[in-house]
Symmetry: D2
Amino acid sequence: MIIAMKSGATADDIQGVMDRIEQSGMRPLNLPGGDRTVIGVASSIPPDLREPLTELMLSLPGVDHVTQVSRAFKLTSREFHAADSIVTVKGIPIGGKEVIVMAGPCAIESSEQLMDAAKAVKSAGARILRGGAYKPRSSPYAFQGLGLDGLKLLRDIGGEMGLATVTEVMDQHDVESVMEHADILQIGARNMQNFPLLVAVGKTNHPIVLKRGPAATIDDWLLSAEYILNGGNPNVILCERGVHPLDRTYTRNTLDLSAVPVVKEISHLPVIVDPSHATGHAKYVAPMAKAAVAAGADGLLIEVHPEPKEALCDGPQSMRPEQFTELMESIRSIARAVGRT
Amino acid sequence: MIIAMKSGATADDIQGVMDRIEQSGMRPLNLPGGDRTVIGVASSIPPDLREPLTELMLSLPGVDHVTQVSRAFKLTSREFHAADSIVTVKGIPIGGKEVIVMAGPCAIESSEQLMDAAKAVKSAGARILRGGAYKPRSSPYAFQGLGLDGLKLLRDIGGEMGLATVTEVMDQHDVESVMEHADILQIGARNMQNFPLLVAVGKTNHPIVLKRGPAATIDDWLLSAEYILNGGNPNVILCERGVHPLDRTYTRNTLDLSAVPVVKEISHLPVIVDPSHATGHAKYVAPMAKAAVAAGADGLLIEVHPEPKEALCDGPQSMRPEQFTELMESIRSIARAVGRT
Amino acid sequence: MIIAMKSGATADDIQGVMDRIEQSGMRPLNLPGGDRTVIGVASSIPPDLREPLTELMLSLPGVDHVTQVSRAFKLTSREFHAADSIVTVKGIPIGGKEVIVMAGPCAIESSEQLMDAAKAVKSAGARILRGGAYKPRSSPYAFQGLGLDGLKLLRDIGGEMGLATVTEVMDQHDVESVMEHADILQIGARNMQNFPLLVAVGKTNHPIVLKRGPAATIDDWLLSAEYILNGGNPNVILCERGVHPLDRTYTRNTLDLSAVPVVKEISHLPVIVDPSHATGHAKYVAPMAKAAVAAGADGLLIEVHPEPKEALCDGPQSMRPEQFTELMESIRSIARAVGRT
Amino acid sequence: MIIAMKSGATADDIQGVMDRIEQSGMRPLNLPGGDRTVIGVASSIPPDLREPLTELMLSLPGVDHVTQVSRAFKLTSREFHAADSIVTVKGIPIGGKEVIVMAGPCAIESSEQLMDAAKAVKSAGARILRGGAYKPRSSPYAFQGLGLDGLKLLRDIGGEMGLATVTEVMDQHDVESVMEHADILQIGARNMQNFPLLVAVGKTNHPIVLKRGPAATIDDWLLSAEYILNGGNPNVILCERGVHPLDRTYTRNTLDLSAVPVVKEISHLPVIVDPSHATGHAKYVAPMAKAAVAAGADGLLIEVHPEPKEALCDGPQSMRPEQFTELMESIRSIARAVGRT
């Protein structure tokens, strides 16, 4: 931690800052500079002291601003875990050499619809079936999902088809029941900072897909992952799904693909990309899915619906089975071109 | 709803759209235009059909884009409720002529701290005491609040001092217990789209402060309020607290004060402003609080701590009691200048 | 300047950074820390070395990131010029105790229109007449202004009515001719980083209104002012006019009023606010103008048109004369409430 | 154009709107709806009437909002020019099957430096040499480029090496001189709405690379291209280079790759991508360059410097020659995987 004093700070102000750092059990270092004095904390700061100490410093007279030199997250950081983490789901390794595709409908609507989708995604080569039973919707008047009945369909059809499954959990008190029905739990973008939910899934050992919130910085996102790892669950898969866009004339969000190489550098966790929610239009899903693989993503999460026109949710961004099959072909070529499979 | 066809749409495409509108029980109107044909829906669209119909239209061949002419929210809209709503808390009317100030510490830390804060805000003229017992924190290593013990302190000290109280609820399963201890429930910015929580508070009749999320458009925010009103609870107070900023060099967020006159125009709900979280620095709270009142806010939510340097949470943005007293003086002058009290 | 090394940086990496700092004629200080080593530059860095040195450091092996502790701007900074700067235009002091209002039409359309506007703004109490002769328009098909004929009307009518005048200059080669016709030159938001234009107005001694660009951070904005001051012209008036909004459903931009107290703290230059372009709708101009004065703005720039329905430019955001007169009344009350006149 | 009336609009308000549309020579159509009346303009609106008519409508009583159904740009739109435009520079087709790479240093520093860069990019397979002679810099204290001397070096070394050349022009009065020295003129992101400059290059027939501004919507960007096409110059190459980011901790900007398929759909102009400015760090350039090609970009603009540590400008984002050579290999594989060369 570096404390930059105001250029007009007095000797007393400077001493006050140094005293407080010592009182907190750390060693201050005075770095006389050009325009202003800078004080460094020459000790490792325990994670639980980082924020209070920062706030304390900002409250002292003569302090201009405080800069962190260490990262706020530890367990998710590559600095403390150099090797790539691989999250394994029913024998499928996520974060390794193979690019893993999760696909299926936005919402589970019926046994038929889900079975048709499952057949389509399996035959195209996807290994994990997605499908929502609890749907977070901006409007209270929109379809909210089939709930437990949807979960049962997912479990049965996933089992029948030999596909692993992923579905969203919105309420910390549903975690157990969702775990019983699905292989991976998804935390949606709007719940990325729903801390009771993060704490709840952190107590399990289930794989978690953690979507990035639309206004979340990368540090915010990794701190949310840190909640889960800190609870004891190391099986976190990060999912970039677009940030708030400049305008919504053409896409729902702006897919921030540079987050993929950034996160791969600073964290050991696997990162997948959801081009369906990012763009909001089926016609843009294929180019962005290919771009994601080229940028180094470990996997994709894609909406596929047997009949998008009839979908109860997100029809415009759902691919038709034949579009998806074609995309899977291209993805295989791109994966090879970047040394993946 | 207006469906704009592509300029190359065929007669069949156009007929296809018109047929689908009729099949949905509504009346289509063909509006031949300059570059492209436009099709209007000349009927009131039931709220639960709005989204599926939009998505259906977007899935049809030849459709370029769809524009809504009616708003997605109904119960929160001034179009269906012309008069200002006033939410009354222990006899205090929020949304009327008087500007109401809620103040107190970010987090409740101890009986002494809360009592000192309560005395300070009361003597300065605030009528509602704020204090957090459950704290949403970006980092798992930060202080998470005193929980139930904090709620009890809030109830006891609020009662003793004759102040109404407001505190945040983060978990839908805590709603009842928080209601027993506080007069107003706050939904935090990061929970603005925590739909199970919105549904839960919608089933009560308790006043709710609903903060705007950092990337939430005004329509998103009013749709979240719609969840609560649609559940049967009309007592919603909207709270602007800043949106994601261009950069964080000087402020934590960008206070979007134009949201105040916009929301006052399109909705009947009261709107208050939180300049503490918006700016993140005590020195900027006073100018932005004054600006909020000048812009027409119905109230303010301000962090005051008897000893900001010792605060366990948000010290740098907390005002000292004497700063707050001075601010309350200015606010009274501004309120008078804009015809409020 | 603080250089944070990677946690895995070697002793050689650290020595390499220290050597390079010394070779640049500055003194390095090694600050051994917790997770990583930090190296400080314990000398004042000349402004022209700041950027190359930063980039050099970022290019060296083992460097994680570089943080500036001094500000990039000098001449605009309050650290080197403690007293408020007052820019005087025809005896009117901008940046002093009085809140100065500049008002008039977006574009000068005719002698009659400008005269009607001038009479209206003068009788309401404004002291400076605005009017555009060269108009920057997003679309090549929109009205581009009357050019030199407009300038002449502005000079003649301003002179006749005893009002100082302000108008935009878009081309560095028009600077002289615009200076001959107007008392203040305006640099528009889209030209905030048109460096040849900044250099050109920096060579004059004319007062300059420098608008903030829609994606400009405060540091970017002050660096653009620095171009003008560095050229020898100290007469810069900063103008906040809104930043890129979350969405454009209700306002054209998001007025960032917290920029007013921030800039008043870190810079000595006067700051005014343009609520017309910020909101884009006449109905929101009055509340935001009042809020700007309450937040501490030194002045306002407001669009007033004798007949907004007939305006060739920005009609929807132009106030009618009677609305403007009413606003000026309110502004006087607010100004008094915050100790201004 | 669709005019949505307020739900409380009177019959007189509605008639007023219809009358004004007729007075403007167009045909109004009344579309009685659910919550509100909607009025359509059933005629093609001439481009120069579009904006004044919109503003007129917004100024009329009873009008809630106005929606455009046709696009503001014409000449750049694929609706009026179905085939892909190919811009040919010295026999090199940009916008065809081949992915074209432009590479070289941020700034031209010396004959040696440029020659080394030219050799490196040529041997790696790039066909166009970039190099800046006039540099737009946020700070007045940063290196501003060699000017005319730089242009001469670019012309000479480009000629010697058989590479086409691209360089930025910042001042409309330099257009001719820059044209004499370089094969392609670049308009930088900060000048995207420098309209005098757009008008000046529109009068030439030289190929223009038009960068997207950091807060520019896609419509804003295409309207800037429209200025050039409307001036008579069809040779516009669009360049996505990142939009303002959520935060700058890890990248300078957020590369908006979905802009590539969006622009390819709505416009016939070629689109290239600049991953160097978008990310700001050499280590992220390769993944984003590959992603750009996978997303369908027609070309790349990449900074390569023989010795990034010594660069006077943008060193940290410049690739070393051997990194660039390796990237070119990968790009060839990706291009083949998406059916390009």
